[in-house]
């Protein structure tokens, strides 16, 4: 083993105890010194990498996973039951869509949400070119995983022409983002399980227009190219989305 190879092996793993490496050390004080130095540095490295420790409270929580799961489900139930929409409009389906009849929300919270939504849409613009339509099982697997929800089958898959469905991070939440083939281009449908806005409001920029609709369990966002019938997509999703709790 020449010096270059020895150094490379040493720096890749100062704890290397393979036979050929140890043989290369034998009777070579310079290499022994090199290894000692490398190990000293590695001890420093190890010390720094392990200087962080997880919070004790989190460890205690994790020891009771069943309680943690129950707390999550309870939180989702609370979100669903707390909505005044749900109480005011009893419906067979678990999802309640409140349509604000064009009442715009101009609060700074809505503005911030709109900005985050558009930032996300443009970040994902590379996905707009997908053409293969997903089947309902794939779509519902993602909805179930992230939201505990699913879309009814009955023709919904064909109607929606979903080409993308995945979880994503919007408004500091794990949400679901679907992209559908609309008449005028891609239609993004996002379901964000955050605090519902007060009333439905329109969003838009030079290219897109959209609707943010409060629901029992978060905000339903539909964005499409100008002239796209986004309200129809909102209705299609909200009428066919069912929650598993």
């Amino acid at each position: 083993m020449n010096d270059i190879e020895f150094s490379e092996r040493l720096f890749a793993n100062p704890q290397d105890d393979s036979a050929d490496f140890l043989a290369a050390l034998q009777g070579n004080p310079a290499r022994e010194a090199q290894r000692a130095s490398a190990r000293e540095f590695d001890a420093l490295l190890r010390r720094e990498l392990t200087s962080v420790a997880g919070p004790l409270e989190l460890r205690q929580k994790l020891l009771k996973p069943a309680d943690l799961s129950a707390a999550r489900s309870h939180k989702e139930h609370q979100a669903a039951n707390a909505s005044w929409f749900r109480r005011a409009l009893p419906v067979a389906a678990c999802l309640v869509v409140a349509i604000g009849l064009g009442i715009y929300g101009n609060t700074s919270q809505n503005t911030e949400l709109e900005a985050e939504i558009f930032a996300h849409v443009y970040r994902e613009a590379g996905l707009f070119n997908r053409t293969e339509v997903l089947g309902m099982p794939a779509i519902n697997a993602k909805l179930d995983e992230v939201l505990g929800a699913s879309l009814k089958d009955a023709g919904t898959g064909a109607d929606m022409k979903v080409t993308y469905a995945d979880d994503c991070w919007i408004a500091k939440q794990i949400a679901v983002h679907m992209i559908m083939r609309g008449e005028n281009g891609p239609v993004s449908v996002m379901m964000i399980p955050n605090t519902p806005v007060d009333s439905e409001f329109n969003i838009g920029d030079e290219r897109f227009e959209g609707l943010v609709t409060p629901t029992a369990a978060g905000n339903l966002v539909v964005i499409g190219e100008k002239q796209e019938a986004i309200a129809e997509y909102r209705n299609l999703v909200s009428a066919n989305l069912k929650w598993d709790y």
């Binding site: 092996r9 720096f11 540095f41 720094e48 200087s51 994790l62 943690l68 979880d167 991070w169 919007i170």
Partner: protein, 187 residues
């Protein structure tokens, strides 16, 4: 007193016994690997908050999928792999700018009783690790914190062994260069 259990009572007790064992085995996993998993999460995403979220997600998934763990010996690699995937799923696509590694550094209690120069060196090293490119930082963490071999790291990262060793070599070189430059500047 009739001490013979009915079939149902026997089944119930067996189920309870299995559930207790599962919980106990899971607890053992948490107690053994919690800190290493947190550290891996922390150095991957460089944020305390995200590290806590990732750690929680990892162990929750592990709990749900616990029956799929083939053997206790595979537990560590299994947990690290779950965390990698969770990080990719949750954060890599849309990483929020929550790098609070500087905050963490300043919050570290000075339990090392080092000389000021040594403290500065450690802080410099801490920052240098955080500033390493992810493709160098991750194999290094897996090796030093996880204790995985080059081949194990190659499998986890879907790379070949030579690439892993090269990256480990470069990672250490880069870190040493930072410390050497600092020492030179202070001399």
């Amino acid at each position: 007193m009739n001490t013979i259990m009915t079939a149902k009572e026997s089944d119930d007790k067996s189920v309870i016994g299995v559930a207790e064992t599962r919980q106990q085995r899971y607890e053992g996993l948490v107690l053994e690997f919690y800190n290493d998993i947190y550290r891996y999460a922390y150095w991957l995403c460089k944020s305390r908050q995200q590290a806590e979220d990732l750690t929680q997600e990892t162990f929750m998934r592990a709990w749900r999928a616990f029956d799929s763990l083939q053997s206790p010996g595979a537990a560590k690699a299994w947990l690290f792999t779950i965390l990698r995937r969770e990080n990719a799923r949750l954060y890599e696509k849309y990483r929020p700018e929550l790098d609070d590694i500087e905050d963490h550094q300043s919050a570290l209690p000075d339990t090392r009783h080092n000389e000021p120069d040594q403290q500065m060196e450690m802080q410099l090293l801490h920052k240098a690790i955080a500033d390493l490119e992810p493709e160098y930082r991750e194999p290094l963490i897996l090796q030093v914190i996880g204790g995985f071999s080059g081949e194990e790291i190659a499998t986890m990262l879907n790379l070949n062994n030579n690439t892993v060793m090269t990256r480990l070599f470069r990672a250490r070189n880069k870190l040493r260069a930072v410390l050497d430059a600092d020492n030179l500047a202070r001399d």
